[in-house]
Structures are given as structure tokens and as C-alpha cells.
């Protein structure tokens, strides 16, 4: 007998075989291989046998490999066929399951689009990772300002001083301008001045004109594609000019592609910075320029930041000494004032920056988190339903399982079958979700104020992510019922003991309660948001915002402002009119340092809002004087008097305000003027109710930017027509612009309104998905209890008793859900309401209402099933014995 060792087939070849051999006949095939090997060893010697084995292995590996794949695919195909057959058999249940999951997935897709967009802001710029904005953190007399703007000379200074800065660009936003090309005239608000280096930092293609010269010369401008179309139609505007604010002609030197939506700034018109004299200022104490820098590759922004303090000290010292009499260092040490520059990465601005003088309304990373959380919640609810329904319904298929087990189906096959089914449902749901998303996208865009496109999801990364998540959801959701079912003992099937799932009842109840709780919390949130909105609408705001027409651009009337105002006031439909650019609606901020009682030292300086108004302001706005008197033409000295609001009185700590004075600077050279307080006006909200009412001082000074008109008429169109007519007489060809004060006021709360809409949409969704889940569960329970119902009815129970019995468990779940949801909802909304200095108190009514809504909806959903079950004839249900 030859050495045993030599009789073994070569190890590596054997290993190769092992790795591809089909599992089902593994043993037999290995035996056959071994047999032939042994025979050959005997007949032809061990070397030949080894050689043969090797040849076999090499030939066999690919064949077995392909065959295993083929087997796998046919088996999968089989499972899928059966899956579809099962779905057809249980149409209603399958539909509920797929729809529930599809809605959840559609939610996630939409939110994915939203989040993707929010995270992509400003990334269209080639150098996005190396662009930073220099922001300022200033401290003056105890007050802190964080600004997105810094001084004019800083850009040039940092570029000269720090070699790691390759290039800089400044923007100067300064309100809106009227542009005119012949008859075409509009007020453009998305306007900015920019340095000629604009194109070196930002990747905005210039469609017409030369980027290296376009913004060089003064009195030149470039416009966006859409703007060009608006003023010049199809013509190339380069070489032509537009009249700005009816005074200057600017030459158009370029047309640029519209700035993409996902950018933190968006300009339709860009003037050359050379046109702005202010840009050549050398003061470091005034901050009006948004300054961006481009860093060299591999430069460290943090390191650059450490160099800023020295720069500031050097450049600010001269001016600080002139105005404050001490050096910058001394000022800093005394804690009376300081200035810091810091860097903001470009890509951070949209989601994380909320400074004074931003170039646009930024978003907040909080919303990204909130929406992602909501999406996950809804998906989890949908998946929970899915698991619940699958488990419940698979109990109904117990018979099938029992039979299959009895004839020896392997547990693994069963699990595979169930897994395949849930994967099929998952994919079907995904496909439907895509259609739902496409259909809903326009409405979602309207809600979120974006222009999202479905195609942005079609990149390999995102698609892979979505598919992986769907597959995982399908697998996980299918795993539980699969394992649960395949572990059933077949004997039970043929006995009468159906699976009541008592042990798993707790899990299932828990899942239902979780779902109901989330829905109730969302309902509570929605109600609170809408209540707060109502509170805002109805709160006494200290002035009368109804029926007030606001006319804009009235400075265009020039010297004829008063004439215009008088003519209008004579109209019987007009109660009164006032000339002032300051409105009690967001945006009328103008803080200056005010000194009470003639004390002109630094310690007494208080920053307050200072508004320039006329004699008719308080009357027109419907404000209330609570102490003293209003401005009046009868008192010629009123130009040296002021009216302050109650908050100002509080700030100063005066108990007899009418005997007081205060002083304010009237020029940059330290000239002060003293004013007597002649009246106190009742506090009115001139910022959003999110903020406390700030101190305010009203000065009788001309400011003819706007005219506000209080009207009292049913014929609003007529009044507007009249006013427009008078306008055209006095300011022919100038754009007539009007709005209503209450509209402006409401605009402050756009964010809240959006939030309310979003919450109600999500609440509706959660309820919808929850109902689907309840429906499925209800039908399952009804089926489960068919026999019990039959027996009870035979023993004389009435239909209504049966109904109660069926709904009892649901009521129990809803009660528990309410108990959990109420404190959770209260806590969340209380946190949200903290944002508002003025808010309403949440009463018990909200929670009762939410609970009632949940109860009603749930009962309505299951009532059909319960009704049907309770009416069933005992004869039918007891038949299957």
C-alpha cells in the first residue's frame, strides 16, 4: 500500500473545487471526485492522478461557478414568480403595504433632494474650497455686532500684506436702483457693486464681453442673461447703456449667465466698484463692503486669522486716537471697544451664517437636520407598518407554511421566499415612490421656494444610496416575519390553535403606539404653529396696520413731495398721509448712539433706533401717545423735540420722561445736538414678534423715501388710480410703486407660514401612513377573531357588542399614544415658542383636540372592518372545522 500521504488529492486544487461546488450535491460530487482519484492512483500511479485532479479542478471551476449562478438565478426567479402570485392573491393587503412604503419613500426622496440642494450651495465655483469671506466681530460700548461686511480698504491691505491671499473681491450692496432703457424701466433690487476681480474668484461665465476688462472702468456694469433679455430683448447689450436712477448712464460691458439658484448671493446687475467713490475711502471704522478672498493652495485659513489682530491694530490706531483720544490698544484693554476679523469658508455661509448685512437670506443647518429627522421618522413609520402587516398577514398564510414544512421544505428556503417577497414589495414601492415624487415635486418646490429637479438625484452616488437603503429596508422588514414564520411548529397549523402571537403582541402594539404617537405629536405641532400665527395676526401691535397704502420711491418727487402729500390728503377717501422712510415693519433699522440728559461721556452712550418722521406719522399709523403730545405744526420748536417709546423710557430708567432731554450726533466731527422729550408713544412692534420691542426715538426730520397713506374707502382700486394719476402728473415716467402695510407686516412671518405648511403636510402624511397601517391591522385582527366572533354570536352577543370588542384594543393603543405624545409635543413646541418674545400660551385644548383627531381618524379607518366582521354570520365563520 502506498504512503497515505500521496493518496490525497493536491490540496490547492481541492480547495479550488470546494469554493465553487454547488452546495446541494456537495457531498456526492466530492465523493465522485475522490473515487476517480483513488482509482487513478491505483491504476496509473499517484503522479498521474494528481495531474488529472489538477486538470479537473481547472476545467471544473468555471463550469461550476457559472452553474451556481444559473441555479441561483432560477431559484430567485421562482421566488419572484411565487411572490407575484401571492401578491395577486392578497390584493388589498399588498396594495396597502406597497402604498404605505411608497409614500414613506417619496417623502425621503423629496427631502433628499432638498438636503442635497442645501448642501450644494456655492459649490459651482471652481475654487470653492479656497474662497473665504472676511467677517467682522465688533464691540462698541457694550454692544456687539457681527457683520458680513468690513471696511473698504481692508481687501487691498490684506492682499498686500499676506502672500497666501491670491486675490480679493468686494461687494457693496446698497438697496435697489431704477434701470431704464427707453420705455422699459424697472426697479432692480438684486444689485451690487463689485471689484473687477469678480471673475477671478467666482465661476460665473461671461457670455458677452471680456472678463478681464468688464468691470474695470467707472460707470460700467454687467447684467445677467435674464436682465439683458428684459431690457434689450435679443440684442447684444454690450456697448449700449442703461440709465440708472434717472441720473447716470452706465455702459453695459458684459452679460453673464444667470447665477445658479444654489448660491448665497444672487445678482441681476453688477456695477463696477470703480463707480463707487466710497470704495476708495481709507477709513477702517465704517463697514459696508462684503469682502471675499481666494487663498493659495494648501494655505491654512486658521493661521491667516491669527495675523488679523496685528493688521487691525496697525490700521485702526490712527482713527481710534482721533475719535476716542486713546490708542486702539488702550481702548481694547479698557473693554470699551474691539474689532476682530475672522474667516468664513464660502461653502459654510449658506447654512451657518446669520450676520448683519448678509447678501441674501441664508438658510440654517438646523432645517437640514430637522427635515432629515422628519424624513427618517416617516420612513421608520412606513417600515414599521410594513413589518407589522407582513408579520400579521403571514400568520394568515400559516396553512401554506405548515403544508410546505410537512413535505420537507427547508427553513432556509422559506426564509428566502419571504425575503424575496418583501424585496419585491420594496422595489415596487420604490418605483411608485419615484412617480409620486415626480408628481409632487412642483408643489414641494412652491413650498420650499426652491427649483429642485428630479434629475439631480440621478447621479451614481445618490442612486446607489437609494437602492442600498431600499434593499436594506426590504431585507430587514422581511427578515422578522420570515424568521418568525419559519419557526412555527407545523403541528399547530392543523390543530385549532391559530397563531395569536401573544408573545409578539407586545412588540406589535409597541410599534403601533409609536406610530400613533408620532402622528399625534405632528398634529400638535401643526396646531401650535397655526395658533401662534393667529396670535401674531391678532395681537395688538401698537399701531393700525389695516388699510394703509405705502408708496415707494417717493424721493423721486424731489421738491414736490409735500405738494403731492397735500393733494392726496385732500381726497375724501384718505384719512391722513405721512412722509417717512421708516415703517413699523421689518427692515427699518437705524441705530445711533443717543446720550440722555446731556451726559456726553462714553458710559452714557446708548444705542437706540432713531427714525426720521413728520407731523402726521403717529396719526397716520394709528399709534397711541400715552404721555405728553404728538408733534404738531403749532409748535415751531418741534424740530428740536423728540418722541420716545415706552421701551426707551424703561431703558433710561426715567419716571418723568417729559422733563428730560437727550442728545445725538449730527455730523461726523463730534457735533452734538440736544432734544427735548415731548411725548411718549405706546410701544409698537416694528420688528417681528420674535424680538422684544426695542427702544425707539422719533425725530421730526425730513425723510422722503416713502409716503404712507391711511385710506378709508370701499373703492380701493379707485383710490389707487387717483393717487397714480397724481403721481404721473408730478413725476412723469417714474415707476409708481405701492404696497399695503399689512402685507409687508405679514411678510415678516413667511418663515412661520412655511413652517406651518410643512408641518401640516407631514402631519397629514404621518396620519395617512398610520391609517394604512391601522387598516391592515384591523383586517388581520378581524380575520383572526372570525371564529371567536362566530361563537359569541351564536351565544347571543349582539352586533354592537362585537364592534366594541374589536375596537377596544385600538382605543387602548390610542390612549397610550396620547399619554406619551402630549408631554413630548408640549416640550418640543415650548422650545420652539421660546424663539418668540411674544407668544401665546399653550392650553389643554390643543392636546385634547389632537387626541380627538387621532381617535376619530383611527375609528373611522377601522370601523369598516369592524362593522363587516361584527355582521358576519356565524354559519360562515364556523364552517372551517
Amino acid at each position: 500500500m502506498a504512503d497515505r500521504k500521496e493518496l490525497h488529492p493536491p490540496r490547492f486544487a481541492h480547495w479550488m473545487l470546494l469554493s465553487v461546488i454547488p452546495l446541494k450535491d456537495r457531498g456526492f460530487l466530492l465523493d465522485d471526485f475522490r473515487d476517480v482519484f483513488d482509482e487513478m492512483s491505483e491504476s496509473d500511479g499517484s503522479r498521474a492522478a494528481q495531474l488529472w485532479y489538477w486538470r479537473q479542478a481547472i476545467k471544473t471551476v468555471p463550469e461550476f461557478f457559472m452553474y451556481s449562478i444559473y441555479l441561483g438565478i432560477t431559484m430567485l426567479g421562482n421566488y419572484i414568480k411565487i411572490a407575484f402570485r401571492n401578491m395577486k392573491r392578497q390584493k388589498v393587503y399588498s396594495f396597502i403595504n406597497i402604498m404605505g412604503l411608497a409614500v414613506g419613500m417619496a417623502c425621503c426622496l423629496l427631502i433628499l433632494l432638498f438636503v442635497q440642494d442645501e448642501l450644494s450651495y456655492d459649490r459651482y465655483n471652481e475654487h470653492a474650497d479656497r474662497i473665504y469671506r472676511i467677517a467682522g466681530d465688533f464691540n462698541m460700548g457694550g454692544q456687539n455686532f457681527n457683520t458680513a461686511t468690513i471696511c473698504a480698504p481692508a481687501a487691498e491691505a490684506v492682499k498686500a500684506e499676506f502672500p497666501e491671499i491670491v486675490e480679493t473681491v468686494r461687494f457693496r450692496a446698497d438697496g435697489s436702483y431704477i434701470l431704464r432703457n427707453g420705455d422699459i424701466s424697472f426697479r432692480e433690487s438684486r444689485v451690487v457693486y463689485a471689484d473687477s476681480t469678480f471673475f477671478k474668484l467666482f465661476t460665473i461665465p461671461l457670455l458677452e464681453g471680456d472678463p478681464s476688462t468688464a468691470l474695470h472702468a467707472p460707470n460700467t456694469m454687467i447684467i445677467s442673461e435674464s436682465t439683458s433679455e428684459k431690457y434689450f430683448g435679443n440684442q447684444n447689450p454690450v456697448g449700449k447703456s442703461l440709465r440708472i436712477d434717472n441720473s447716470d448712464d452706465f455702459a453695459v460691458t458684459g452679460v453673464y449667465r444667470d447665477i445658479p439658484g444654489n448660491s448665497h448671493f444672487n445678482f441681476d446687475v453688477i456695477f463696477s466698484m470703480a463707480s463707487r467713490a466710497e470704495s476708495r475711502q481709507t477709513t477702517w471704522l465704517s463697514n459696508n463692503f462684503n469682502t471675499y478672498i481666494l487663498l493659495r493652495e494648501n494655505a491654512d485659513p486658521a493661521e491667516l486669522e491669527t495675523k488679523f489682530p496685528a493688521l487691525l491694530r496697525k490700521n485702526m490706531n490712527a482713527e481710534v486716537e482721533r475719535f476716542f483720544g486713546i490708542s486702539y490698544e488702550a481702548l481694547e484693554k479698557a473693554g470699551k471697544g474691539s474689532a476682530t476679523y475672522y474667516l468664513q469658508p464660502l461653502t459654510d455661509i449658506h447654512l451657518n451664517s446669520d450676520l448683519i448685512a448678509e447678501l441674501g437670506v441664508n438658510s440654517d443647518i438646523k432645517y437640514v437636520y430637522i427635515f432629515t429627522a422628519i424624513a427618517l421618522f416617516i420612513l421608520v413609520i412606513a417600515c414599521i407598518n410594513f413589518v407589522n402587516l407582513s408579520t400579521a398577514r403571514s400568520a394568515g398564510r400559516a396553512t401554506e407554511v405548515g403544508v410546505r414544512k410537512a413535505i420537507g421544505s427547508f427553513r432556509k428556503q422559506l426564509v428566502s421566499q419571504f425575503l424575496t417577497e418583501s424585496l419585491v414589495v420594496s422595489f415596487a414601492a420604490l418605483v411608485i415612490a419615484v412617480f409620486i415624487t415626480l408628481a409632487v415635486l412642483p408643489y414641494f418646490n412652491a413650498l420650499s421656494g426652491k427649483t429642485l429637479m428630479f434629475t439631480s438625484l440621478l447621479n451614481p452616488g445618490t442612486m446607489l444610496f437609494v437602492i442600498v437603503v431600499s434593499v436594506s429596508a426590504g431585507l430587514l422588514a422581511g427578515l422578522y416575519p420570515a424568521l418568525y414564520i419559519s419557526a412555527i411548529c407545523p403541528v399547530n397549523i392543523f390543530s385549532e390553535k391559530r397563531i395569536s402571537g401573544k408573545g409578539n403582541g407586545l412588540l406589535r402594539s409597541g410599534l403601533v403606539v409609536f406610530q400613533l404617537t408620532t402622528s399625534i405629536v405632528l398634529v400638535i405641532s401643526t396646531i401650535v404653529v397655526y395658533n401662534q400665527l393667529g396670535f401674531i395676526q391678532n395681537k395688538k401691535i401698537g399701531f393700525n396696520k389695516e388699510q394703509v397704502l405705502v408708496l415707494g420711491n417717493t424721493y423721486l418727487l424731489d421738491t414736490q413731495v409735500q405738494t403731492f402729500k397735500d393733494i392726496i390728503s385732500n381726497n375724501p377717501g384718505v384719512v391722513s398721509a405721512t412722509v417717512s422712510g421708516y415703517l413699523p415693519a421689518q427692515g427699518s433699522h437705524n441705530s445711533s448712539a443717543v446720550f440722555p440728559d446731556g451726559k456726553l461721556d462714553d458710559a452714557s452712550a446708548t444705542s437706540m433706533n432713531c427714525w426720521s418722521v413728520d407731523n402726521d406719522y403717529i396719526k397716520t399709523m394709528g399709534m397711541n401717545i400715552v404721555l405728553g403730545r404728538d408733534f404738531s405744526r403749532d409748535f415751531l420748536t418741534d424740530s428740536s423735540n423728540v418722541i420716545i417709546n415706552q421701551a426707551a423710557v424703561k431703558q433710561f430708567g426715567w419716571d418723568k420722561p417729559l422733563e428730560r432731554k437727550l442728545s445725538k450726533a449730527i455730523n461726523n466731527r463730534g457735533g452734538m445736538r440736544s432734544y427735548d422729550v415731548i411725548g411718549v408713544v405706546e410701544d409698537f412692534h416694528f420688528e417681528s414678534l420674535r424680538n422684544n420691542i426695542e427702544p425707539l426715538v422719533l425725530f421730526l426730520e425730513p425723510n422722503n423715501i416713502k409716503i404712507s397713506v391711511r385710506i378709508q374707502t370701499d373703492d380701493i382700486a379707485g383710490i389707487i388710480g387717483f393717487i397714480r394719476g397724481e403721481w404721473n402728473k408730478l413725476a412723469p415716467g417714474q415707476p409708481f410703486e405701492y404696497s399695503f402695510l399689512d402685507d409687508r407686516f405679514n411678510n415678516m412671518y413667511q418663515a412661520e407660514r412655511k413652517l406651518g405648511s410643512i408641518f401640516s403636510v407631514f402631519a397629514a402624511l404621518a396620519i395617512f401612513i398610520g391609517c394604512l397601517g391601522l387598516l391592515g391591522l384591523a383586517s388581520y385582527m378581524a380575520e383572526l377573531k372570525t371564529k371567536e366572533i362566530g361563537i359569541r354570536k351564536t351565544l347571543g352577543a349582539s352586533d354592537s357588542v362585537i364592534m366594541m370588542m374589536l375596537t377596544r384594543e385600538f382605543v387602548k393603543w390610542i390612549t397610550v399614544a396620547n399619554i406619551i405624545a402630549w408631554p413630548v409635543g408640549w416640550y418640543i413646541m415650548d422650545r420652539w415658542l421660546q424663539n418668540y418674545a411674544y407668544r401665546y400660551e399653550m392650553g389643554i385644548g390643543i392636546f385634547l383636540l389632537s387626541g380627538l383627531i387621532a381617535l376619530t381618524v383611527a375609528l373611522v379607518t377601522i370601523s369598516y372592518q369592524a362593522l363587516k366582521a361584527s355582521r358576519a354570520k356565524p354559519v360562515d365563520s364556523l364552517r372551517y372545522q
Binding site: D25, F28, L29, F33, V36, Q56, K59, E63, F64, T74
Partner: protein
């Protein structure tokens, strides 16, 4: 004619035919030996197994796992035998081939 005709690959056909000639239940080992003998080609184990298994799955053969034998340390063996379906599939194939060959012979006769 009932339903679409299932086509067999060459290997499947040969394997099926071989099983048929054996006329009792047989093992993969035996089938392979016969095939090597008759075709003169070296059939690898997998080139016999794959068609064999496909025929099994499609119902043209049936298989059973035998009792563990007393030899070979008590391992079980897998036995294959032809089914009625398998027999009729072979017959079908043969008749089809025959009728086509008749046409060719017809040409030969008629020139």
C-alpha cells in the same frame, strides 16, 4: 402538440440517452464512464454533472438519495433514473430528426 418544445443541449441529450440505455437507476460515476467509453472524449465530472442536474431539475430525470452503504465509511449515494417525460422527450427528438433525415434521403434518391 402541447406547449412549447423544450430544447436540450447536446450534452443533455447525450447524458439523457446514456441514462436511458442503462435502463435502471444509475450514478454519475457510471454515466460518466459510459460517456467516455462511447464518445472517446474525456468528460470532466462537471461536464456530466451540469447537464445531469438540469435534466433533474426540469423533470426529465428523477433522483433519490440512497441508504448509506456499508462500504465507503457509510456515505450515501445519489441515484438518477429517467422519467416518462424524459423518455418521451428523447422519442420526440428522434422522430423530429428522422423526419428531417427522410427529406434529405429523398433528395438523394431524387438527385
Amino acid at each position: 402538440m402541447d406547449g412549447p418544445m423544450k430544447f436540450l443541449t447536446r450534452q443533455e441529450e447525450l447524458v439523457l440517452l446514456t441514462v436511458h440505455t442503462i435502463n435502471r437507476e444509475t450514478t454519475l460515476k457510471e454515466i460518466r464512464r459510459l460517456l467516455i467509453e462511447h464518445t472517446g472524449k474525456e468528460w470532466s465530472i462537471s461536464s456530466v454533472y451540469v447537464p445531469l442536474d438540469r435534466l433533474d431539475v426540469n423533470g426529465l430525470l428523477e433522483s433519490r438519495i440512497g441508504q448509506p452503504s456499508s462500504t465507503r465509511g457509510g456515505k450515501a449515494k445519489k441515484y438518477y433514473s429517467i422519467t416518462e417525460e424524459g423518455k418521451s422527450a428523447l422519442v420526440e427528438l428522434r422522430e423530429l430528426a428522422d423526419s428531417l433525415w427522410k427529406r434529405i434521403d429523398g433528395f438523394a434518391i431524387n438527385g
